[in-house]
């Protein structure tokens, strides 16, 4: 009984992980490499810093709030988006760096 449940959960996990995508967004020349991005619920965005100095990534949007701290060139951090809606993503250090992620059902 228990193993059957585990099997069911496992198959669910496997099927969602096959469906979900990872999209990479860079930070380059004090800009996000995309102004806007459409993804689906469950997708992950990988934010990579490609500048020679630190950037930050955060969102204070209701649909997904996060603060990835700051990290240097070559490093990335992931956010998996679980709620549909429009998410404004910014860099706290450089307020001109902004992008919008539309998370669709």
């Amino acid at each position: 009984m228990a193993s059957k449940n585990i099997a069911a959960i496992l198959s669910l996990v496997i099927s969602t992980s096959v469906m979900a995508e990872t999209v990479e967004v860079g930070q380059k020349d004090k800009k996000f490499t995309q102004d806007s991005l459409d993804i689906k619920v469950g997708d992950t965005v990988k934010f990579t810093n490609n500048d020679a100095f630190f950037h930050n990534v955060f969102s204070l949007s209701d649909a997904e709030m996060f603060d990835l701290g700051s990290y240097p060139k070559g490093e990335s951090r992931d956010v998996t988006f679980t709620t549909p809606g429009e998410v404004e993503v910014e860099c706290a250090i450089h307020p001109e760096m902004k992008m919008t992620i539309n998370v669709q059902e």
């Binding site: 992980s17 990872t22 999209v23 380059k28 100095f53 240097p72 250090i93 450089h94 307020p95």
Partner: protein, 355 residues
Amino acid sequence: MSIARIAKPTITTSVLVSAFMFGLTPAQADEHYVFEAGHTSLQEWLMPEVPYPDNNKPNAERVDLGKMLFFDPRLSGDGNMSCATCHSPLFGWSDGLPTAKGFKSKVLGRASPTVTNSAYNSLQMWDGRKKSLEDQALGPMLSSAEMNVDLSMAINFLKGNSTYVQAFEKAYPGQGIKDETLAMAIASFERTVISNNSPFDRWIKGDKTAMNKQQVNGFKLFVDPEKGNCAVCHSAPNFSDSGFHNIGLKSWGQENPDMGRYAIKPINLMKGAFKTPTLRDITLTAPYFHDGSAMTLSDVMDHYETGGSVQTNLSPNMKKLTLTQTEKADLVEFMKALTSPQKPFVLPILPENAF
């Protein structure tokens, strides 16, 4: 091109592909610089045309009106402070004080930022709480700690003065005297306070004699991440990244310190962070830093050499510097090359009192 959209199983390929793409571009600003007067690699340091909003294109009428308003103390609660009290042409459009003095000479918490090249700022104020010069212009008037004026009374004063009535009508035909046009006129004047003809600018344009050897060496150190590491924040062309950094000043270690940008953007990294000021005309605006704690440019260098005296929540772009005395002196000499030639400033004739 710069975004790789792929299913999870192939994530490794995506990382490799993007690393390859980005690996081809120069990693750091100075890597592609050739330190010769007028070299094409340096042209990003020249100031572009002054930007302005679509609904407030500067013209002579707007600038002249804004200049009168900027210098008119009748727009303050006690009738003795104007914008120019804290942003004076006598002190590089700042006030020569460590931190500003406001209403009844109350000592305020932050230094008066210069108006010079503020037209290029994407956000105004040390904490970036104002989006444009138009947004900013009325802030100090309304603040009870600063000019402390009832804006409706200021507007009534302007409406009752025939010279101002005519000047507003010429500058903003049919728009009337109101908060918006008052702010727009002041912003138009502020957009004329520009520094773009310093020895540094002339050297960038090709005049070999504009900077001496020491200053050229100072510029090299300025942009070198392993030396001055200054351009990481004081970046081209206005010597500012328009960004916010906690530079670890002593005042940050005091009880209840000024939280700076954090009050506007509640992100941890912004605790104690302030906007990167321009370095153009920097010799005219001592003392330095948002708290006015550095009296000279040498003091500024001494602070940065330590990598920050308070390390809590320090900007990740700060680091301890390894500089010789000569290198520090070269950096200071370079900063002196960022001041444009100064001319006597012609004050406006204010509209007469009409009692």
